[in-house]
Amino acid sequence: MSVEIRNLSHIYSKGSPFEFQALNNINVTIEDGSFIGIIGHTGSGKSTLIQHLNGLLTPTSGTVLVDGEDIFNKKKSEMIQLRHRIGLVFQYPEHQLFEETVQKDVAFGPKNQGLSEEDVNNRVRQSIKMVGLNYDEVKDKSPFELSGGQMRRIAIAGVLAMEPSVLILDEPTAGLDPRGREEILAQIKSLHTQKKMTVILVSHSMEDIGRLVEKILVMNAGEVVFYDSPNRVFTEIETLESIGLAVPEVTYLMKRLKTKYPEIREDIFTVEAAKDEILKVIRG
């Protein structure tokens, strides 16, 4: 499912003294089945942008097309159907859990979609499996008995149970320990490769963005600075630094090594690629 953002602008509290332009004329196309990373420092407009994609916020001007259809210019019921196809996982999603059991909590979304009980149960089972947890083990537990990492995965399952075609995640690894981070990212990656899901990942970790996504959307002050492959974006070190961002550590390393080894490639942002390049150039 493709998502087109057309001339999108959003102004908070328009006409009041607190008026604030959060987005300014954004034009971005997200192709079906792609894996996009969004980076930008706090307040750059990332959150505002992703909340437009499933209609939580209404644009001040411009619009969003999902598979060519305008999600802000339709009958309400159709619009809601369309929005359900775009799943949004907020930051610290475990803070939205509320039911007595994991089963009931994950079922909240599909139930709201008006599915039959059987369909709901199937979806709950599948989505809990998709986030790497054992359905039979956790289904009757209270979500609040689980560990932090497990709670987060259940919350993500709650969105997956709506079977979205596009999955947007706002910093899904925030506050987790290294293993928890790794597990969540691996699951997101497999949703993309195995379920062919379109994934939009908002993250502060350039390392994670560098090794996962196909295209990076760089935002600053409500505008798009770059929308390109990691190879291109991460070689713009100066521009990125000027807007408070950075590049992965290995990218800095390659740039430093270039003074001694002019033939070394700079468009490298994973440890794996750096190893190969160093072995090739330095060891010969």
Binding site: T42, G149, G175, G180, H204, E249, R256, K260, V271, K275
Partner: protein, 283 residues
């Protein structure tokens, strides 16, 4: 008192901590057989996955909870000795993870004053301490702001100022950067390093970000309530495989060096920073 040259700030002697449950099966052994000490002026990093006992340990050091077995000695005072409770909490200050849930007052400077007010410091002296503490964390300009208008990094710096105003000798940081964005993390880390370097503050820094402790004097690694490794950052991080096995990470440069060595390259295994890597590769 002692023959040692270094003065001990904190001593943890054979500590066990059990979270009591309704019955014996439910009680959880969070720490067992933990022994270490921290010298005055040291910067010690503590790492371990969630549930490894780090937070329990930090609360023991600040006398918020007390060991089931063994002793925690802060600046010569045993935390079991309840008459010294307030002295211990004043000596070993603590900064927590969530910046929102540790600020009490509606105005920044009133929040910084909270600690010394509790200690019964005279009004005029509180004023001086608050001004000094806010200057140290470079937040004077925000003295009259409301906490909820600040960024995460700024809130954490206010929390640090609140502890500084109590004039402690040691600060325990319990994952102070976990909920911050990269710029907030940088601000807070710079503040913590400055306190250790310029004010000779003893720092115990608990974190999941390995890059934050590559300059620490010492690192303690916890797993399942026990200390599994202890030593300089170089000596700890070179154990790439062992750390990954207990759910931890290593700095990116250390990982790269490890990979290069595995591929047969002759490079030392205790590289932590980009500078060291450049040196090693451009010799």
């Amino acid at each position: 008192m002692t023959m040692e040259q270094k003065v001990k700030m904190i001593e943890v002697r054979d500590v066990q901590f059990v979270y009591p449950g309704n019955n014996e099966n439910e009680s959880v052994n969070a720490l067992s057989g933990v022994n270490f000490h921290i010298d005055k002026g040291e910067f010690v990093g503590i790492i371990g996955h969630n549930g490894s006992g780090k937070s329990t340990l930090s609360k023991l050091l600040n006398a918020i909870i007390f060991p089931t077995k063994g002793d925690v000695i802060v600046n010569g005072l045993n935390t079991k000795d309840h008459e010294h409770l307030w002295d211990i909490r004043q000596t070993a200050g603590m900064v927590f993870q969530n910046p929102d849930n540790q600020l009490v007052a509606t105005i920044v400077e009133d929040d910084v004053a909270f600690g010394p007010e509790n200690l019964g410091v005279p009004s005029l002296e509180i004023r001086e301490r608050v001004d000094r503490a806010l200057a140290t964390v470079e937040m004077q300009a925000y003295a009259h702001q409301k906490p909820h208008q600040l960024s995460g990094g700024q809130k954490q710096r206010v929390a640090i100022a609140g502890i500084l105003a109590m004039e402690p000798e040691c600060i325990i940081f319990d994952e102070p950067t976990a909920m911050l964005d990269p710029s907030g993390r940088r601000e807070v880390m710079e503040t913590i390093k400055k306190l250790n370097r310029d004010k000779n503050m003893t720092v115990i820094h608990i974190t999941h970000y390995m890059s934050e402790i590559i300059n620490a004097d010492r690192i303690i690694v916890l797993d399942q309530g026990k200390i599994v490794m202890e030593g300089s950052p170089e000596s700890i991080f070179k154990n790439v495989r062992a750390l990954k096995k207990i759910g931890l990470d290593v700095p990116q440069m250390t990982e790269l060096a490890y990979e290069l060595r595995n591929a047969g390259m002759d490079i030392r295994d205790n590289i932590l920073s980009i500078d060291e890597m450049v040196d090693a590769l451009c010799r």
